[in-house]
C-alpha cells in the first residue's frame, strides 16, 4: 500500500497539477477573538511549505482546522483540487493528511509497533496488524532514513526517535500531506539536521510537507515557499529563495526588528558565585547533576547550552532554592549557600539571587493572580510591603506594580488583569520586571524568550544586557543556540549532567556547540 502512494506521488510531480492544499477564505473566531481572518493559501504538491508567525498569530488554529480539530466558520478547503469537508481527524487521515504534533501523542509504555498501529488496527486480533506494520516499517525505514527499532518501548526512546515514530504513524496511515508543528523545539542541532534530511527524502518521494515554526533559520534552510501570518491574517506568501530571515521577521512583527543583540564586550569582575562539585539525583534515582563546577563573575553573562533535560533545569532550581542538592557547595561572594532541604527560594532572594524560571506558567506566575499580585510574587514579605496591623500594604504594592508596567512596557497596562490573559511576551515581561527591579546580584534566567514574540525578545534581551552592564552576574540557560550565542560572554555546554565543555562565543559556532550538546567533544576526537 505504501508502494501505491509512492507511484501516485511520482506520477503527479511531472505535469502541472492542482495544489495539494488550497485554502480559500478560511475564517475562524473564538468568541470575540478572530483567530483566522479570510485565509487564502496554496501549497504545491511535493513542496516543503513553511508557515511562520508569532505566538497567537493563528498558525496552530489554521492547522487544527486542516486536521479537523476545529471547524472553520467560513471558507473552503481543497485537497488535491477537490473540495473536502474535514469534520474530524478521521476525515483528515482519509484525505491523506497526517500531523506531527508539537507535544507527541504517543503511549509511552507501548512499543513502537503498538503505537504505530494504534487506531489503525485491521481487526480484533493484534498479531496480523503487528506483522503487517513490521513489514511496512522496515520499508519506510529503508526509504526515508526513518530507522527505529519496532520493538523498543517508546518511553525509552529519545525525543528525536519519538518524533520519528510520530512521522511513521502518519506515513503508515498513508499520509501524502504531512504537517509538522514546531518539530525542532526539543531536538539537538544534529537531530534537527537528520529530521530535515528525512523531510527532503519525503519530498523527493512526492509528499507535501507543511512546516510550522518560529525559527527563521530553519525556514530558510529547508522550505521552498513560506507564508507569514500576523494577527490571524496571512500577510505574505513568498518563495524562500527570494526572501531573507530579516525580511520575514519584519513581516511577522509588522515593523523592523533587530535580530542581532547590540552589546559591548563584557568587563568581568570578581567571581560572585562559585559552584563546586554539585550533585543531585531525582526521585527515580537518575543522576541529574554529576560533579558540576562553574564560576560566575560579576558583569558577565554565562550561557548554559544543552538539549532540554540534561541537568540545566536542576542547576537553576538548586541555585534558585527550589530543589535540594545531594552534595557539593555553592559559594556566593564569601559565604556558602544552604543547599539542604531546609533552604527555600525566599532565602535565596534575601541573598540577592533573582530567578526568571524556565517555565513561567507553572513557576514564575500564578496564572489566576492579578498583575499586582504577580509583580510582588516572592518579594511579598519585603519590608516595604508591610502595612498596618500586619496586613499587606496593597497600596504600595499597586504603585510598585504600576511603575513596573510603565518601565517594562507591559500591555495591557491594567494592574488588575489576570496573568493568563496576557500574551506570552507580556507575561515574561512581568517576571523579568519583578526579578530585575529587586536588584539581584546574580540573576538566574531560564529560557527567557520561550513562547515570546519577536518584538518582546528584542526588549528582554536588552534588559538582560543592561543588567550585566550594571555589573551584575547573569546565568543564562537556554535551549536556543542562537540566543546563547547572541547573549553570552562565555558558554558552557551541559550534557547528561556534566559540563561537557566551555567555549567563548566568538571562538565557536553552532556546529561545535551542537556536537558538545550531543556528548561529543570535537577537540578530544580530533
Amino acid at each position: 500500500m505504501t508502494v501505491e502512494t509512492q507511484t501516485q506521488g511520482r506520477s503527479e510531480t511531472a505535469a502541472p497539477v492542482a495544489p495539494a492544499i488550497e485554502l480559500i477564505g478560511v475564517s475562524k473566531s473564538f468568541g470575540p477573538v478572530q483567530a483566522n481572518k479570510d485565509i487564502d493559501m496554496n501549497v504545491a504538491k511535493g513542496a516543503i511549505h513553511g508557515i511562520v508567525g508569532e505566538n497567537g498569530a493563528g498558525k496552530s488554529t489554521l492547522m487544527s482546522i486542516l486536521y479537523g480539530f476545529y471547524k472553520a466558520d467560513a471558507g473552503e478547503i481543497k485537497i488535491n483540487g477537490v473540495t473536502t469537508e474535514i469534520t474530524d481527524s478521521h476525515a483528515a487521515i482519509a484525505a491523506g493528511i497526517g500531523m506531527v504534533h508539537q507535544h507527541f501523542m504517543l503511549v509511552e509504555p507501548f512499543t513502537v509497533l503498538e503505537n504505530v498501529i494504534m487506531g489503525a488496527e485491521d481487526g480484533p486480533l493484534l498479531r496480523p496488524s503487528l506483522n503487517k506494520a513490521r513489514k511496512v516499517l522496515m520499508e519506510l525505514a529503508a526509504e526515508y532514513e526513518l530507522d527505529v527499532d519496532p520493538d523498543a518501548i517508546v518511553g525509552d526512546l529519545s525525543v528525536g526517535f519519538q518524533q520519528r515514530v510520530e512521522i511513521l504513524k502518519a506515513l503508515y496511515r498513508e499520509a501524502d500531506i504531512l504537517i509538522l508543528d514546531e518539530p525542532t523545539g526539543v531536538l539537538t542541532p544534529a537531530e534537527a539536521d537528520h529530521l530535515f534530511r528525512i523531510l527532503e527524502n519525503l519530498k523527493s518521494q512526492g509528499k507535501t510537507i507543511v512546516l510550522i515554526t518560529h525559527k527563521l533559520r530553519e525556514i530558510m534552510a529547508v522550505t521552498d515557499t513560506v507564508s507569514v501570518m500576523r494577527r490571524g491574517k496571512m500577510t505574505a506568501t513568498v518563495k524562500t529563495s527570494e526572501t531573507s530571515a530579516s525580511e520575514l521577521a519584519d513581516l511577522m512583527v509588522g515593523r523592523h526588528v533587530l535580530l542581532e543583540v547590540d552589546k559591548s564586550d563584557a568587563e568581568p569582575g570578581e567571581t560572585i558565585l562559585e559552584v563546586k562539585n554539585l550533585c543531585v539525583t531525582d526521585f527515580q534515582g537518575v543522576k541529574k547533576l554529576k560533579d558540576v563546577s562553574l564560576q560566575l563573575k560579576a558583569g558577565e553573562i554565562l550561557g548554559v547550552a544543552g538539549v532540554a533535560g540534561n541537568g540545566q533545569s536542576d542547576l537553576l532550581n538548586i541555585l534558585g532554592g527550589i530543589e535540594a542538592a545531594d552534595s557539593g557547595e555553592v559559594i556566593m561572594k564569601v559565604d556558602s549557600i544552604d543547599l539542604s532541604k531546609k533552604a527555600s527560594a525566599a532565602m535565596r532572594r534575601e541573598r540577592g539571587i533573582g530567578h526568571v524560571p524556565e517555565d513561567r506558567h507553572a513557576l514564575g506566575l500564578v496564572m489566576a493572580f492579578q498583575t499586582w499580585e504577580n509583580a510582588v510574587f516572592g518579594y511579598h514579605n519585603n519590608p516595604e510591603f508591610s502595612g498596618k496591623f500586619g496586613l499587606a500594604d496593597q497600596k504600595v504594592m499597586m504603585e510598585d506594580t504600576k511603575r513596573k508596567i510603565e518601565k517594562y512596557d507591559i500591555r495591557p497596562t491594567n494592574p488588575h488583569l489576570l496573568a493568563q490573559n496576557y500574551s506570552g511576551g507580556n507575561q515574561q515581561k512581568i517576571v523579568i520586571a519583578r526579578e530585575i527591579e529587586n536588584n539581584p546580584d546574580v540573576l538566574l534566567v531560564g529560557q527567557p524568550t520561550r513562547g515570546v514574540d519577536i518584538g518582546a525578545i528584542e526588549f528582554i534581551h536588552k534588559q538582560i544586557v543592561a543588567l550585566r552592564d550594571e555589573g551584575k552576574a547573569v546565568l543564562l540557560v537556554s535551549v536556543e543556540l542562537e540566543e546563547i550565542l547572541a547573549l553570552s560572554d562565555r558558554i558552557v555546554v551541559m550534557f547528561d549532567g556534566v559540563i561537557q565543555g566551555e567555549r567563548m562565543p566568538k571562538e565557536t559556532n553552532e556546529q561545535e556547540l551542537g556536537m558538545l550538546m550531543a556528548g561529543v567533544d570535537p577537540e578530544a576526537s580530533a
Partner: protein, 359 residues
C-alpha cells in the same frame, strides 16, 4: 476566564439562573409525586421565613456559615477538607470540657472561653490529617473522612464513659446557668421564644469578616491563595508548603469547631450524641455555591438554612417525604456547583452577541 462577562453577571446572574433551574426541576419532581409545586414553594417560604421558622433558619444558617467558611479556607489552599463533621463534633467536646470545668460567672466570658475550646479542639482534630498530608503526602480527603468516623466513635466513648452524667443517657451534665448564651429572642423579642438561633450568629458573621481579611488582606492569605493556585509556583516564590497546609487546615478545623458554640452551648446546653447532623457536609455545598468567598458563603448558608427549615415544614404540612428535601438540596448543589457551565456558556455567548451588536 470570564470572557467579556461583566462581574455582576459572573457572581450574581449565573448563580441565580442556576438556582432557578434547580428549583424548576425540583418543581417538576414535586409535581411528579402528585403535589402542587406552587403550594410547596409557599409552604417552604412561609415555613422558613415566618415568625416561627426564621429562628430555626438562622440557627441552621449559623452552623452552615462556620462549616462553609471552614471548607472555603481549606479550598483556597487547595485542600479538600471533608472532615468538618468530625472537627465540629470534637469542637463540641472542647466546648463541653471548657463549660463543665468552670462555673462561668457570665455568658460573655463563657462564650469566649467556649469558642477558644471549640477552636482548639476542632483545630487539633484537623491537625493530624494536615500533618500527615504535609509531611507524608497522605491524601487529605481520605484521612479527614476517616477522622470523621474516629471522632464520632470517640464522642460515643466519652458520652458513655468519662464524660457521662449519672444515669443511662449518653450525655454530659447540663452546663451551668452562667454559660447559657442569649437567643435572638432575648435580644429582639420579635423572634419566637422557642427558636434556637442565638448570638453565635454574630460570631459567625464576624468569622466571615475575619476570613475575608485573612484571605485577601494579609500576606499569609496571599501565600495560601498562591499555594492553592499552584504549589510549584509557591515553592518558587519561597512559600513553604508544610506551613501553608498546616495553617490552612488548623484555621479550617477551628472554624468547623466553632459550630459547636451554636449547637452545643447555644442549643443543647450539654454535650449529646450527633450534634453536627451533617452540617459538616452541607458546608462543602455552601463553600462550593459561595465560590469560597465569605460573602457568598454567608448567602449560601442562609439559602441552605431556608432549605433545611422549609423542607421540614414541607414534610409536616404537605406530607412530602423528608427525603424530597435531600433531593432538592442535591439539585441545588448539582446545578450551582457541577453544572455551572451549562448556564455559563449560553450566558457568555449571549453577552458576546450583545456586545457585538452594541459595537
Amino acid at each position: 476566564m470570564n470572557k467579556g462577562l461583566p462581574k455582576w453577571a459572573d457572581i450574581i446572574l449565573i448563580p441565580f439562573l442556576s438556582l432557578m433551574l434547580a428549583f424548576l426541576v425540583s418543581g417538576l419532581v414535586v409535581m411528579f409525586i402528585g403535589k402542587d409545586p406552587i403550594e410547596a414553594v409557599k409552604v417552604m417560604v412561609s415555613g422558613a421565613l415566618g415568625k416561627y421558622g426564621i429562628g430555626y433558619t438562622l440557627y441552621y444558617t449559623t452552623s452552615f456559615i462556620f462549616t462553609g467558611l471552614s471548607v472555603a479556607i481549606a479550598f483556597h489552599a487547595r485542600m479538600f477538607n471533608i472532615g468538618g463533621e468530625g472537627q465540629a463534633g470534637i469542637g463540641g467536646v472542647g466546648v463541653a470540657a471548657v463549660l463543665l470545668s468552670v462555673a462561668w460567672p457570665h455568658w460573655t466570658i463563657a462564650i469566649i472561653a467556649a469558642s477558644l475550646g471549640a477552636m482548639a479542639f476542632g483545630a487539633a482534630w484537623a491537625a493530624i490529617p494536615a500533618y500527615l498530608q504535609a509531611k507524608r503526602g497522605s491524601h487529605i480527603v481520605i484521612t479527614t473522612i476517616m477522622f470523621n468516623w474516629i471522632g464520632s466513635a470517640l464522642i460515643v466513648y466519652l458520652l458513655v464513659g468519662p464524660m457521662q452524667a449519672p444515669g443511662m443517657v449518653p450525655e454530659t451534665l447540663g452546663f451551668s446557668a452562667g454559660s447559657s448564651i442569649p437567643t435572638l429572642h432575648d435580644i429582639i423579642p420579635a423572634f419566637d421564644k422557642h427558636a434556637p438561633a442565638n448570638v453565635s450568629l454574630f460570631l459567625a458573621l464576624f468569622a466571615a469578616f475575619g476570613v475575608w481579611v485573612l484571605i485577601w488582606k494579609t500576606r499569609l492569605g496571599y501565600e495560601i491563595r498562591a499555594f492553592g493556585h499552584s504549589e510549584k509556583a509557591a515553592i518558587y516564590a519561597g512559600i513553604k508548603p508544610v506551613k501553608i497546609i498546616m495553617v490552612a487546615m488548623l484555621v479550617s478545623g477551628a472554624l468547623a469547631g466553632m459550630m459547636a458554640v451554636n449547637t452545643v452551648q447555644g442549643e443543647a446546653e450539654r454535650l449529646i450524641l450527633d450534634t453536627v447532623q451533617g452540617a459538616g457536609f452541607v458546608g462543602i455545598a455552601v463553600a462550593l455555591m459561595g465560590r469560597s468567598h465569605p460573602v457568598g458563603v454567608v448567602l449560601a448558608a442562609f439559602l441552605f438554612g431556608i432549605l433545611y427549615q422549609g423542607g421540614g415544614e414541607l414534610s409536616f404540612a404537605m406530607g412530602i417525604p423528608r427525603e424530597m428535601i435531600v433531593v432538592i438540596q442535591a439539585l441545588v448543589i448539582m446545578f450551582v456547583g457541577s453544572l455551572e457551565n451549562m448556564v455559563r456558556i449560553p450566558v457568555e455567548r449571549m453577552f458576546v452577541r450583545f456586545n457585538k451588536g452594541a459595537a
